[in-house]
C-alpha cells in the first residue's frame, strides 16, 4: 500500500470539533461524489458506484463519535462517505475507483470493497453486518476497548443475516453500534413496498436500545451517535441508531425513477446546505479549498499508473 501523509486529504478531528470542520468533511464528501458522477457520465471511469449524496452528515456525525485510533468500521455498498469520514483519504479512494495501483486496495476492490486500517466494506447486502459482529467479538476478546460500527440501510433489513447478527451481538453483549441509514428507498423500491412493521421495533426485539434522528441536523445526529458509541463501549452491549437520511442522488449512476416534485421537496431539506448556512461566512473559503482539492486529486489520479 502506498504511503499517505494525509496532507492532501480532508481534515479530520474527533468529537467536539468545530462546526466548520464537520462542514468541510460533509461538503468534501458531496464534492467527491459529484466528481465521481461527472467522471462516470463522461465515460472516464467504468464499472459501477453508489454515491451517498444527501446522506453525508450521518456519515460525518457517526464517525465523529468514534475513536478512530481503535474503533472499527464495517461499511456497505454506499460507503464513500463512511470511508472519507473515517480517514479523509480522498486520493487513495479516487485512485481505487479509477482502478489505479495507488488505490486503497490497488484497484482490486473498487467502489464497494475498501479496506484501510480498521475500515472494511463489502458490497453484498447484510453480509458485512455479520462480519462486523465478529470484529466486535474479536475486539471484546482482546479487551481493546474498541467499538465496532456496522453500517446498514433500511433495504438491508430484507436480509436474514441482519437478524442472525443482531441476535448474536445482543446475546453475547458485544460492543457494536448498528448505524442504520433509513433513506426510504432500496435502489428504486420505496420502503413501504419492502418493509413490514418498523426498524426500531426490530432492533428492540433483540433487547437493543435504539434512537432515531431525522438525519438532517448534524449536532443532533452527533449527540445521538455519541450516546450510542459511549454506551456500547461502557456497557459492552450493542446499540442501534436510525438516521432517516435523505438519498438525494440516484441509487447508482443514473437510475433514479423518483419524480421531480418529490426530488424538489427532498432537495429543500438538503442537510449539507443547512449545515452550510449554520457555518456562515467561513463556508466560502472551505468550498474553495474543496474545489481545489478535488481538482488536484483528479489530476493526480489521472497521472498515476494503471
Amino acid at each position: 500500500m502506498p504511503a499517505h501523509d494525509g496532507s492532501a486529504g480532508l481534515a479530520l478531528t474527533d468529537r467536539a470539533s468545530a462546526l466548520a470542520e464537520h462542514y468541510r468533511l460533509a461538503a468534501g464528501i458531496r464534492a467527491f461524489e459529484r466528481l465521481l458522477l461527472d467522471q462516470f457520465a463522461s465515460g472516464r471511469i467504468g464499472g459501477t458506484t453508489h454515491t451517498c449524496i444527501g446522506q453525508e452528515i450521518t456519515a460525518v456525525a457517526v464517525t465523529a463519535a468514534l475513536d478512530r485510533a481503535r474503533d472499527c468500521v464495517f461499511s456497505n455498498h454506499r460507503g464513500h462517505g463512511h470511508f472519507l469520514a473515517y480517514c479523509g483519504e480522498v486520493f487513495p479512494l479516487l485512485a481505487e475507483i479509477f482502478g489505479r495501483r495507488d488505490g486503497v486496495c490497488g484497484g482490486r476492490g473498487g467502489s464497494q470493497h475498501l479496506h484501510w486500517r480498521n475500515f472494511y466494506s463489502n458490497g453484498v447486502q447484510g453480509g458485512s453486518v455479520g462480519n462486523a459482529v465478529g470484529v466486535a467479538l474479536a475486539e471484546k476478546a482482546k479487551c481493546s476497548g474498541a467499538v465496532t460500527c456496522a453500517w446498514l440501510g433500511d433495504g438491508t433489513f430484507g436480509e436474514g443475516l441482519v437478524y442472525e447478527a443482531m441476535n448474536i451481538a445482543s446475546l453475547w453483549r458485544l460492543p457494536i453500534v448498528f448505524a442504520i441509514e433509513a433513506n426510504g428507498i432500496a435502489q428504486t423500491t420505496p420502503t413501504e413496498l419492502q418493509l413490514a412493521g418498523g426498524l426500531a421495533a426490530r432492533c428492540r426485539a433483540f433487547d437493543m436500545p435504539v434512537e432515531e434522528v431525522p438525519g438532517t441536523d448534524l449536532a443532533e445526529t452527533l449527540a445521538v451517535a455519541t450516546r450510542a458509541v459511549d454506551a456500547a463501549r461502557a456497557e459492552q452491549r450493542p446499540r442501534a441508531l436510525i438516521s432517516h437520511a435523505i438519498r438525494l442522488g440516484p441509487h447508482s449512476k443514473g437510475d433514479d425513477t423518483r419524480g421531480t416534485a418529490q426530488m424538489r421537496r427532498a432537495w429543500a431539506r438538503d442537510p449539507v446546505a443547512m449545515l452550510r448556512s449554520e457555518v456562515g461566512a467561513a463556508a466560502d473559503a472551505i468550498d474553495r479549498d474543496i474545489t481545489a482539492l478535488m481538482h488536484d486529486t483528479l489530476a493526480r489520479a489521472n497521472e498515476t499508473a494503471p
Binding site: C72, R108, G130, A138, A141, K142, G160, I168
Partner: protein, 339 residues
C-alpha cells in the same frame, strides 16, 4: 502420527491440541458444548477444558461463519462446526463472497484463517437433507481450500495443518461413517507414498501395489475404505493390481501430486470415486487435470470411469439409499469395464 485409534478421536484430539497450543483458536458451533459435545461428538470435552473459547451458537449457519470471518480478520483462528454438510449453502454467501474473497479484494492486506468443519455423507438413513456430500459445489472457489480427512492417514494432523499452516479459509469435510473407522497405519501389499508440497500442502496418499500396476483408483474421504475393498476384490477375483490415490486436498486440485503419480508411468485405466453424483463433480476435475498432464507428457491414452451416486435426492429408507450411493461392487464393475 497420533496415538488415537478412530477418526473421531483423532479429530477431537486435534481440536484439543489446537486450543491448548494457541489462544487465538476459538471453536464455534451449534450444540458443541458438553455434555453433548456436538452432534457427532467431535467437540466432546472441549468446553469443559476451554470454556471461554468454545462457544455454543444459535441455529444461524450464515451468522456463525460471518462472525468467525470477522474474528479471523482481526487476528483469531476460528474453527466453525456446521452440524451437517447439507447446511453449507446456508452459509454459502459468507464462504464464497466474504471469507474467501477478502484477502484478494483487499489487495492481500488481510488474512482470513478460518476452518469450517462439517460432517458429510450418507449411509445412516438420515434422508435427503442430512446425508449429502455437497463439497463439490465449493471446488474451484478462489481463495478457498477444500480438504477431507480419511482413515488411512492422520485426521488430527490434517486438521492441525488446516488450522495453522494456511492463512485462508478451509472447508474441512468429514465423513459421518468415517468417524467410527479405525485409523489404518500402513496397508499390506502396498508401498505407501505421501505427496505434499508448498503449493498443495495437504498430503495425497498414494498406495502403490507391489509388482504390476494395472490402473488407478482415485478417491477421497469416506470413499477411501470402499476403494480399498474394491482393490482387494479386484486382486483376489481378477488378479488385477490397482493403485490407490487418496486425496486430502480437493481444491485447489493438487496438480503436482497427480503429476508425481503419472511420472511413475501412465495407468491404462483410471477410476474416480466420490459419494456425490459424479456430474459436475470432483472426479471430472481430476480427470481433466490428469488428461492435461498426460497430454503434456505425451503419455499413452487412458480409459476413464467415474463412480458416484445416482443423480437423485438421497432416500431415507436404508435399502433405497444403498441403491443410489456408490458401493464396492460399483467400483469393481467400473474398473472391469475399463479393461
Amino acid at each position: 502420527m497420533s496415538k488415537e485409534t478412530t477418526v473421531q478421536a483423532s479429530l477431537n484430539a486435534g481440536l484439543r491440541a489446537a486450543l491448548a497450543a494457541d489462544e487465538r483458536v476459538i471453536v464455534l458451533g451449534e450444540d458443541v458444548l458438553d455434555p453433548y459435545g456436538g452432534a457427532f461428538k467431535v467437540t466432546r470435552g472441549l468446553s469443559a477444558q476451554f470454556s471461554d473459547r468454545v462457544l455454543a451458537t444459535p441455529i444461524s449457519e450464515a451468522g456463525i461463519v460471518a462472525v468467525a470471518t470477522g474474528l479471523a480478520l482481526r487476528g483469531f483462528r476460528p474453527i466453525v462446526e456446521i452440524m451437517f454438510g447439507d447446511f453449507l449453502f446456508l452459509a454459502g454467501d459468507q464462504i464464497v463472497n466474504h471469507a474467501a474473497k477478502y484477502r484478494a479484494m483487499f489487495n492481500d492486506e488481510v488474512r482470513v484463517p478460518l476452518v469450517i468443519r462439517t460432517p458429510s455423507g450418507g449411509r445412516r438413513g438420515y434422508g435427503p437433507t442430512h446425508s449429502q456430500s455437497l463439497e463439490k459445489h465449493f471446488l474451484g472457489v478462489p481463495g478457498l481450500w477444500v480438504v477431507a480427512p480419511h482413515s488411512l492417514s492422520d485426521p488430527g494432523e490434517l486438521l492441525r495443518q488446516a488450522i495453522f499452516d494456511v492463512d485462508d479459509p478451509v472447508l474441512f469435510v468429514e465423513n459421518k461413517i468415517g468417524y467410527g473407522e479405525a485409523i489404518l497405519r500402513g496397508i499390506p501389499g502396498y508401498e505407501t507414498v505421501r505427496l505434499g508440497d508448498t503449493a498443495s500442502p495437504f498430503p495425497t496418499l498414494w498406495l502403490k501395489p507391489h509388482g504390476a500396476n494395472d490402473g488407478l483408483l482415485l478417491c477421497y474421504g469416506g470413499m477411501a475404505r470402499l476403494a480399498l475393498d474394491a482393490a482387494a476384490a479386484l486382486r483376489e477375483r481378477e488378479q488385477l493390481r490397482l493403485g490407490l490415490v487418496i486425496a486430502a486436498q480437493l481444491s485447489p486440485t493438487p496438480t503436482s501430486h497427480l503429476d508425481a503419480v503419472l511420472r511413475a508411468g501412465a495407468p491404462s485405466c483410471v477410476v474416480t470415486v466420490e459419494e456425490a453424483p459424479a456430474a459436475g463433480g470432483w472426479g471430472a476435475e481430476i480427470i481433466a487435470t490428469i488428461e492435461q498432464i498426460r497430454d503434456a507428457r505425451r503419455l499413452a491414452p487412458i480409459s476413464y470411469r467415474r463412480v458416484g451416486a445416482a443423480n437423485t435426492a438421497i432416500p431415507s429408507a436404508r435399502a433405497l439409499e444403498d441403491g443410489i450411493l456408490p458401493q464396492v461392487q460399483d467400483i469393481v464393475a467400473a474398473a472391469l469395464d475399463c479393461f
